[in-house]
């Protein structure tokens, strides 16, 4: 059907609505997710006050104790989702850990964006994640309340590195952990003009309960997910 006809048809029906005008709440921000914080014995981070959505809302760049709390919450939620978070002092430590894993597990093919390829693992890197043993990606943000990492796929930061290999990992600067999903959504909203073709929120491994209600991991995507939180970034 022609677009204009279609929309006019909808408009004609909308006018009939007895509901009349229903305003969109100016900012939809219900109360913070408090229970999980209480479990960790942490207070309410100042950044997660109702209404605090937008670029100014606190990433973990604030006072060190707030940052520690957010990172602790991030790690706890990721663990509950079946993933693992490891805090390392700097990028070198993460790279050493990857090298150790590769040796230990006998990986022969690691995939990541060329810009991330700074490791002394020459000969193992590939651009093609389809047959890689391991995939590495750079995360843009971390979300403490869900244990999610957020990826902006553009240029050489392909979608496949975090999807096709059986084991995947993410490098996440610790200062880029924000309290809640809304903090990321607010940032994406404000930067709408530079939105890439694909943004992905990844939380733990691929899983499904579709086989008789039993949880299986690695159904289509990776079965193992690790996040290295880099302290000095």
């Amino acid at each position: 059907m022609d677009r204009d006809v279609f929309i006019a048809r909808v408009a004609a029906r909308v006018c009939l609505s007895a509901a009349g005008d229903v305003p969109l709440p100016s900012r939809v921000v219900p109360p913070g997710i408090t229970a999980s914080r209480a479990q960790l014995g942490a207070g309410q981070p100042a950044a997660a006050q109702p209404g605090a959505v937008g670029p100014a809302a606190g990433a973990a760049g604030g006072p060190p104790e707030d940052r520690d709390r957010l990172i602790e919450l991030f790690a706890a939620c990721l663990r509950e989702a079946g993933g693992e978070a490891v805090r390392v002092p700097d990028r070198r430590a993460a790279e050493a850990a990857i090298a150790a894993m590769a040796r230990e597990r006998g990986w022969t093919s690691l995939s990541c964006a060329p810009s991330l390829r700074r490791l002394a693992l020459d000969g193992l890197w590939t651009d093609d994640p389809r047959c890689a043993d391991f995939g590495l990606s750079e995360a843009e943000w971390g979300i403490a309340e869900t244990g999610s990492v957020v990826l902006r796929h553009r240029g050489d930061r392909g979608r496949g590195h975090s999807l096709l290999p059986p084991v995947v990992a993410f490098l996440l600067p610790a200062s880029r952990v924000v309290p809640r999903p809304g903090d990321v959504l607010g940032r994406l909203h404000d930067a709408a003009a530079s939105l890439p073709a694909c943004v992905t929120f990844v939380t733990g491994p691929s899983h499904s309960g579709d086989i008789a209600g039993v949880m299986c991991y690695g159904v289509h995507g990776p079965a193992e997910v690790r996040v290295w939180l880099i302290d000095d970034e």
Partner: protein, 551 residues
């Protein structure tokens, strides 16, 4: 209820409803399986909501966003379509299922697609897309594990979020073994691994990926997919062409208004804080991107939705398809997902199916509910499901169908069956006349008690023997009538009738005066005794006991 007593023709929705319901009720292991499934889901639902602080406020937020969007749908549709096109995607508008199928099949033909992979999409099931794609010569594979199993079994989805929730391990092993051409072990991990191998190959060689959309963000033209397995990401990443088929009401104004929706969709649907993957797609791959589809098509489907707009049924468009109403519904667990004979199951299916596809022939669906309100309490978008079911019942009773789903469809008014509806009306007037007069009521109870021996000669089911696990043997204390004599059979065809008590509560009360209290059984006390003889209402409410919901 005349329609219930009329012998239905062999292959009508009603006949299938009766057959499936009976089969499910009599299948004790299936019953226990569904019972357990719901209990587990409800547990995770609670776990995920405990996390939220005040979940009610979050539900208010979801409902506010959805109500607003639906009330301004024309505006957001135009904005969304503009933005998708600005990002390099193509947008088509389909008035009905036929148009939508034709658009997608046309894309498949133009691309010469031989292999199509699909990520679970309710609307593509709704419009019967698979058959249309297969007609172009393409091989079509559902890639959500549950949907894949259901496709191999040739079954409709049993549940909105779990297409194969009713299948137990041996059956799944059999289905996947046949597909794999080898004898697989009866272990979930091994079965999933086998499906992963088969489907990975299909992803890597597919020419076309078809997905649905959980949400469309109007302000940026972004399609948001919420998945757990990764098949959604595969479908939208690997094939060179990606087609999104979405219901036209699936929009949200902007990114911040996504927060409550994402927060509750997964908590209500699967009982998780968030699913493994939330994928936001804005147009096809850009210059310099190393992967992603080269072409993106978005097909926006009406198929009866605009006919719901502006009517008393408009709130049904707030639904975000989490499937949680089915996880709470005592009727769903009793009659099973296939009884709805629709892609939409559970209470939302009982409401949406007649609205989208016509009430005619589906008059039974709004009655497939005890109106206990468990679905209302669970719904993250505050869709007033019980109210809408009642409205549909009113439409059935008035002999007028709801909004005609399709302009071209035949008028869908229900032919009023004169004699039967007179009987129905007479029955209720008679009941009202008896129930509002104390003396007449007491006399009726005495007559009913006197009829007990006659009724007991009929096949009687002892409470707790055949009844579901949740019906404690002592809950009714009396037998229940499976097949009543004469006119009563019209009632017992669809319900069990508790036998009248030998003596009413009021009579017992009078015979056993408590010390210090007047031995009076009249007035409002007496109405309590009605329990034994206001059967249908009583029995249906018992099985939807709110106390069970707390489990």
């Amino acid at each position: 209820m005349s329609r219930r007593s009329r012998a239905p023709a062999a292959d009508t929705p009603r006949a299938r409803f009766d057959a499936v319901t009976r089969a499910t009720v009599e299948d004790r292991p299936l019953h226990e399986w569904l019972d357990n499934y719901q209990a587990v889901q409800q547990g995770w639902h609670r776990w995920a909501h405990d996390d939220l602080g005040d979940a009610q406020e979050w539900r208010d937020a979801v409902a506010a966003v959805r109500r607003h969007t639906v009330a301004h749908l024309d505006h957001y549709l135009a904005e969304f379509a503009d933005k998708v096109e600005r990002a390099g995607g193509h947008v088509s508008f389909a008035a009905d299922a036929g148009e939508a199928r034709e658009y997608v099949a046309g894309i498949a033909r133009r691309k010469g697609a031989r292999r199509v992979v699909k990520a679970k999409s309710m609307v593509s099931e709704e419009i019967g897309l698979d058959a249309a794609l297969e007609a172009t010569g393409a091989e079509v594979t559902e890639t959500d594990l549950g949907a894949y199993i259901a496709q191999l079994a040739g079954e409709r989805p049993y549940h909105i979020t779990g297409p194969a929730v009713h299948m137990r391990l041996p059956r799944i092993r059999e289905i996947l073994s046949r597909a794999a051409g080898e004898d697989l072990p009866e272990e979930p991990d091994a079965l999933a691994a086998s499906a992963r191998r088969t489907l990975r190959d299909r992803f890597l060689t597919a020419d076309l990926g078809v997905s649905g959309a959980n949400f469309g963000v109007a302000s940026t033209g972004t399609v948001v997919l919420v998945t757990n397995e990764g098949n959604g990401r595969m479908t939208t990443t690997l094939p060179p062409t990606h087609v999104v088929v979405m219901g036209m009401e699936r929009l949200v104004p902007d990114w911040p208004s996504l927060e409550p929706l994402l927060t509750l969709l997964t908590r209500a649907g699967t009982g998780e804080r968030v699913t493994s993957y939330v994928t936001a797609i804005t147009g096809p791959r850009r210059d310099g991107d190393v992967d992603g589809p080269e072409e993106l098509h978005v097909v926006i489907v009406d198929n009866g939705r605009s006919g719901i707009l502006g009517t008393k049924y408009q709130p049904v468009l707030q639904c975000i398809r989490c499937g949680c109403c089915a996880d709470f519904c005592p009727v769903y667990r009793t009659m099973g997902g296939h009884a709805y004979d629709s892609v939409y199951t559970g209470p939302i299916g009982a409401v949406l199916t007649p609205l989208l596809f016509g009430l005619e022939g589906r008059e039974h669906l709004p009655f497939a509910s005890t109106l206990c309100g468990a679905c209302d309490d669970g719904c993250p978008a505050r869709v007033p499901l019980s109210d809408l079911l009642l409205e549909l019942r009113a439409d059935v009773a008035a002999g007028a169908a709801g909004p005609s789903p399709d302009a071209s469809a035949a008028p869908s008014s229900v032919p009023a069956s004169g004699a039967a509806s007179t009987m129905w009306a007479f029955g209720f007037k008679g009941f009202a006349a008896v129930a509002t007069r104390r003396r007449v009521w007491d006399a009726a109870l005495r007559v009913a008690s006197g009829l007990r021996p006659v009724l007991e000669a009929e096949p009687v089911r002892r409470a707790g023997r055949h009844a579901g696990r949740r019906l404690e043997p002592g809950a009714f204390g009396r037998g229940r009538l499976l097949r009543g004599p004469g006119v009563v059979r019209a009632w017992t065809d669809a319900r069990d009738l508790p036998l009248p008590a030998p003596a009413s509560f009021a009579r017992l009360w009078r015979r056993h005066p408590r010390p210090g209290s007047p031995a009076s059984g009249g007035g409002s006390d007496g109405s309590v005794s009605a329990g034994g003889s206001a059967p249908g209402v009583r029995s249906s409410r018992e099985s939807g006991d709110p106390a069970q919901r707390g489990r």
